[in-house]
């Protein structure tokens, strides 16, 4: 029965056709596809590995970043504290200096005032003396017509002067 007897003609053509198909596909078909897919797979796994590495590096970086921020914060706090101390010290110093200065100025002013007062008083006194002498002269000229009265006056005045000197 021909159904289960292989036909020679068909076998001949099958050999020819299958060999051709196999040659073409094995050369230009399947190896290209499988090769490319293998390449892609290799690249994907490579990329995955790189991504993992990058992730690890990123994690490390973020840890370091945190550390740095923490450090910076501490430094900032220290600097701020320092600055505040310096400022306080400066202010205190300035205050002390200012009060010193003020005290000095005040005392200077005081001595000056005292000196001025003294000189003013001296001037007033001398003017008063001159004035009183002048007044006295005028009074004298009118009163001391006589010699006797003149001598008497002079004596009295000398006496007064010497007393005054003793007092001073």
């Amino acid at each position: 029965m021909s159904l289960i007897t292989p036909d020679f003609g068909l076998l001949f053509w099958m050999t020819l056709i299958f060999a051709t198909v196999f040659f073409v596909l094995a050369k230009f078909g399947f190896p290209i596809i499988t090769g490319m897919v293998d390449e892609r797979n290799a690249r994907i796994s490579e990329s995955l590995r790189k991504a993992r590495e990058a992730e690890a590096a990123l994690n490390e970086l973020s840890v370091r970043q945190k550390e740095m921020i923490e450090q910076a914060r501490q430094e900032q706090a220290a600097i701020l504290k320092d600055a505040a101390q310096t400022r306080d010290a400066l202010i205190a110093q300035a205050k002390a200096q200012a009060s010193d200065e003020a005290a000095k100025i005040v005392s200077q002013a005081r001595t000056q005032i005292a000196a001025e007062k003294e000189s003013a008083m001296a001037e007033v006194r001398s003017q008063l003396a001159e004035l009183s002498v002048a007044v006295a002269e005028k009074v004298m000229r009118t009163q001391l017509e006589s010699d006797k009265a003149q001598v008497e006056l002079v004596n009295r005045m000398v006496e007064e002067l010497s007393r005054n000197q003793k007092m001073n």
Partner: protein, 349 residues
């Protein structure tokens, strides 16, 4: 199968017309109907329109007593004789084949005609080559490392990688790359021929993978791939298997069984594919034949059974789609397993 499937739909409604189209005598010749579709022929009978056969003539190439002859198969139609060649009739020697009349003797010439199956094989192979090369062309235009193909090339890649990764790599083992071109070709060759066999009209419908010559060739290829490149361990296991020595001497029972096994493995491949596809074709043809066989039983009976036959036909067609894939898968997987076994390294003690 071609006429049957095309005629199936109108046959359900108007049984009489399809009845006419099948056989000139008005009676369905079941034997010719079946074997006309699952067997080989010198011309390709496409369909019958109003009792007129539409047949594509194919070249007949024979080498007889008078040397080489190449002529159209239409010269041999209806039992006619051409240059002493004719197609042997039923009951004669070499029935259905081209024979040469030498005197009173019938001689079978050296026959390498492009028959229906050969032509179908060529068409299907061309389709296969075009499909795969179209898929492979994508990689020339793109950098496959940067992107994956979409659309058609994506389907081709998916199928190829499915076979490569799931079947070949797993079953063959270490140096599967060496065998993957053959196994992939075998898979897609069987798959495309199975699918084209289900297509009911020209140029599909030829029963190629259900032909023993085709499966014989494929099985021989696997046989060679297994036995030509087998390693020392494989041959040692055949000739001197590790069994109690009374199984080997004086009667070499186990070696004998092993040697028979070497041949039964590809033989089973051959029969499995052949029988599955042939049976699928016969089942579909049988179910469709119900429409024509019941034509004489009256319209009600015929219409009722036709509806059932069409429903069953659809079911079987879908089943055959599955079988088309499954048989290609099984053939490739078993070939891979056999190759893998021939390359197995002995287990470390």
């Amino acid at each position: 199968m071609a006429i049957a499937m095309v005629a199936a739909a109108p046959a359900a409604a108007i049984p009489a017309s399809s009845h006419d189209a099948t056989e000139e005598s008005g009676e369905l010749d079941m034997h010719e109907y079946l074997f006309g579709h699952i067997g080989d022929s010198y011309g390709w009978h496409v369909t019958t329109i109003n009792g007129h056969h539409v047949t594509i003539p194919l070249p007949v190439i024979v080498h007889g007593k008078s040397g080489w002859h190449v002529f159209s198969s239409s010269k041999l139609a209806h039992g006619e004789s051409y240059k002493g060649f004719r197609v042997a009739e039923d009951g004669e020697k070499y029935a259905g084949k081209v024979v040469e009349q030498v005197g009173s003797d019938i001689v079978k010439p050296f026959d390498i005609s492009i028959t229906k199956n050969v032509f179908g094989l060529m068409v299907n192979s061309l389709v296969l080559v075009i499909l795969v090369l179209l898929g492979a062309r994508w990689y020339k235009k793109h950098d496959a490392r940067e992107e994956a193909p979409k659309g058609f090339a994506g389907i081709v890649e998916m199928m190829v990688m499915m076979v490569e990764e799931d079947i070949i790599k797993d079953c063959v083992g270490k140096d599967y790359k060496r065998y993957s071109p053959y196994l992939l070709t075998a898979f897609f060759f069987i798959f495309i021929n199975n699918l084209m066999g289900i297509v009911p009209f020209f140029p599909g419908g030829a029963n190629i993978t259900g032909n023993i010559a085709i499966t014989l060739f494929l099985a021989v290829c696997t046989f060679l791939a297994v036995n030509l490149f087998g390693n020392k361990h494989y041959y040692k296991d055949i000739i001197w298997p590790e069994v109690p020595s009374w199984l080997k001497v004086p009667l070499p029972i186990m070696p004998l069984i092993e040697i028979i096994g070497v041949f039964t493995k590809p033989f089973s491949l051959m029969i499995r594919l052949f029988a599955n596809i042939l049976a699928g074709h016969i089942m579909i043809l049988g179910v469709v034949a119900v429409i024509f066989l019941t034509a004489k039983m009256g319209i009600a009976m015929n219409a009722g059974l036709s509806v059932i036959a069409v429903a069953f036909g659809i079911f079987l067609d879908v089943l055959e789609l599955l079988v088309a894939f499954l048989q290609a898968y099984v053939f490739t997987m078993l070939s891979s397993v056999f190759i893998g076994l021939s390359r197995q390294e002995p287990e470390a003690e």
